[in-house]
């Protein structure tokens, strides 16, 4: 036995400590393996999609219209349709969402009524996309008699993405320190003056980030537009930027991918892959933009 007071042996590792440290390093390796096993296969899958898409990918593919019963050609009508749906739904959802978030964060007191609003927002975020589709069909297509149209589909998408905007805007608003608001109230500014002069200018980038995320979510959704306004095929001239009326149906990228992948016979092999890659890239591009904006915002904070 060693002398317990000997300063050298006092800090050597006991067996217990050695075992403890071994568990520590094993656990670290285990957890990092978990992360790697999640990310690597995904990157591989995405690379696989790209590899198969390559024969079709070109500028021509983007601006060309589908040909031969959609088994060849490009994706222009679908691309423009998605653009229409996203922008119109954005124009509806963004103001309502931002105002609703302002209400919840700046005006609402902590009472039962506002707890119900909060619950409604959470619930709205959790409603499955196919239920939104049923709602859009029942409410906009039939009850409001908009028919199968861009406007029905956009309204459905807008309601579906509303909670995304509300949640991210609230987060942005909540990040403005309370002391700023109190300072404004103390000099006799009204709530709205405070929001207008201090809260909004200091959270606008965060709000924009949320709105951009809405764009990417709306662009990828299929189920809600499938039964409200998206159509398998619509004849459109090549490169036409304004091919649709608001009361018409349109093609959409996500819907087009579903169609060419499952419904159309004898499709050129690389076509669905290329469609998937275009959709994926558009969504990831928009998201990356949002992330870049957020990073920029964090580095340019004024306080």
């Amino acid at each position: 036995m060693t002398d317990p007071i000997d300063p050298v042996t006092r800090f050597t590792k006991t067996d217990f400590v050695v075992r403890k440290e071994r568990i520590q390093s094993v656990s670290k390796i285990l957890f990092s393996l978990m992360v790697i096993s999640m990310i690597i296969p995904l990157l591989a899958i995405i690379a696989y999609l790209f590899y198969h898409a390559l024969p079709s990918l070109s500028w021509e593919f983007l601006v060309e219209v589908p040909k031969k019963g959609m088994s060849e050609g490009g994706i222009w009508p679908a691309f423009v349709g998605t653009l229409y749906l996203v922008l119109i739904s954005l124009a509806i959802a963004a103001p309502i969402g931002v105002f609703a978030a302002i209400y919840l964060n700046e005006y609402a007191r902590d009472n039962w009524f506002n707890r119900i609003i909060n619950l409604a927002v959470i619930n709205l975020a959790g409603v499955p996309s196919i239920v939104h589709a049923l709602f859009g069909l029942g409410a906009f297509v039939y009850a409001a008699q908009f028919g199968y149209s861009i406007i029905s589909a956009s309204l459905t998408l807008a309601i579906m993405t509303l909670p995304v905007i509300i949640a991210s805007t609230r987060e942005a608003l909540a990040s403005v320190p309370m002391t700023f608001r109190e300072a404004c109230w103390n000099v006799g500014a009204t709530r709205w003056q405070t929001i207008r002069a201090i809260v909004l200018p200091n959270s606008i980038s965060g709000i924009l980030t949320g709105i951009i995320l809405q764009v990417s979510r709306a662009a990828g959704e299929t189920a809600p537009i499938m039964f409200t306004g998206a159509v398998f095929y619509k004849a459109v001239s090549r490169g036409d930027l304004f091919p649709y009326q608001l009361n018409e149906q349109c093609m959409a990228l996500s819907m087009h991918l579903y169609t060419v992948a499952t419904q159309v016979p004898n499709v050129k092999e690389s076509l669905p892959y290329a469609t998937a890659v275009v959709l994926l890239c558009s969504v990831l591009f928009v998201n990356a933009g949002a992330i870049a904006l957020r990073v920029w915002l964090r580095n340019h904070k004024k306080w």
Partner: protein, 310 residues
């Protein structure tokens, strides 16, 4: 007394213009209305879906008990129409269950790694990757299931078709991992650093801190993360529609094809003519889904709220 100074103080500032006050009141009204809109939309969803479902209760072929517990789904049969959704419900449950078996350990493990083991740079980039993963549209996931995953499954297991329960489970797992990771990471972040420091001061290793300090104190947040993951998996439509195959049956193993409640609506709504029993019963399935996800999300919210109150 300095009364003259007093009155000048009072009068140098003008009163606000009537117009600007009126504008402000109008804006506040709009803001309040938007706040209430969330409630209106949720009620509207329930109302309109239920309105389309209602006529089915007056149909001769319909029985609520059979709707819930019968496995026979023959909505278009000429002779004997049967609307039993149990096989579909079971399909939803089995796919979700399989997805969670994979996603929960991986999600929690990744969250622990991100929050406890890596440096700030690494953490930032991993979180960005997770965020991008969460952004991949469900139809792209479905396409991956249909092409890549099904080929892998066929070549590994020798199953006749690659689109089946296992495929759907794997795809759903990949889809729900990001949401589980980001919410559990939040929950772990919410554990005060003082707990970690106190444990470190007592000579605990990282692993001991995780096992004995973090997991117990963050367990509600982690539970909420799992619940929200389940909510997402149950409600997912396009990915399971494309990846699980199209057989309405109770699966006997992971290589059997199944169909879920969501995929069933997506697959059949286009064929059901408006106003028919088939059409109404699909809306009723929507109500069933609405109630299931409502219950799951409500529970998750109560769990999260419980943490905040503490």
């Amino acid at each position: 007394m300095n009364d003259t100074a007093d009155s000048t103080l009072k009068n140098t500032l003008p009163q606000r213009q009537f117009l600007s006050i009126a504008m402000e009141n109008l804006l506040e009204l709009i803001i309040r209305l938007s706040g209430i809109s969330a409630i209106i939309f949720v009620l509207a969803i329930f109302f309109f879906v239920f309105r389309e479902a209602l006529p089915i209760f007056f149909s001769d072929h319909f029985d609520l008990a059979k709707f819930l517990f019968n496995t026979q789904w023959y909505p278009t049969s000429e002779v004997n129409v049967r609307y039993g959704t149990f096989a579909l419900t079971f399909g939803s449950i089995s796919v979700t269950f399989l997805a969670m078996i994979i996603a929960v350990p991986f999600g929690l493990g990744s969250a622990i790694f991100i929050s406890e083991f890596c440096g700030p740079k690494m953490k930032e980039s991993l979180k960005i990757i997770i965020e991008l993963l969460a952004a991949i549209p469900s139809v792209v996931w479905g396409f991956i299931g249909l092409t890549v995953m099904s080929r892998i499954i066929v070549s590994l297991t020798g199953a006749p078709v690659g689109v089946n329960l296992l495929n759907g489970g794997l795809i759903l797992a990949l889809m729900s991992v990001p949401i589980i990771v980001s919410i559990s990471e939040d929950a772990l972040k919410a554990v005060p650093d003082s707990y970690r420091e106190a444990a470190l001061a007592l000579g605990a290793t990282k692993w001991q801190i995780i096992y004995r300090v973090l997991l117990p104190s963050a367990k509600n947040g982690l539970l909420a993360a799992v619940l929200l993951g389940i909510g997402r998996a149950v409600g997912e439509t396009m990915a399971v529609l494309m990846a699980t195959g199209h057989a309405v049956q109770i699966p006997h193993g992971p290589l059997d094809s199944v169909r879920t409640l969501t995929a069933n609506i997506a697959a059949e709504l286009g064929e059901a003519s408006a106003g028919s029993d088939h059409y109404h019963v699909l809306f009723l399935t929507g109500i069933l889904l609405f109630i299931i996800t409502f219950a799951v999300n409500l529970t998750a919210d109560l769990v999260i709220r419980g943490i905040r109150r503490k």
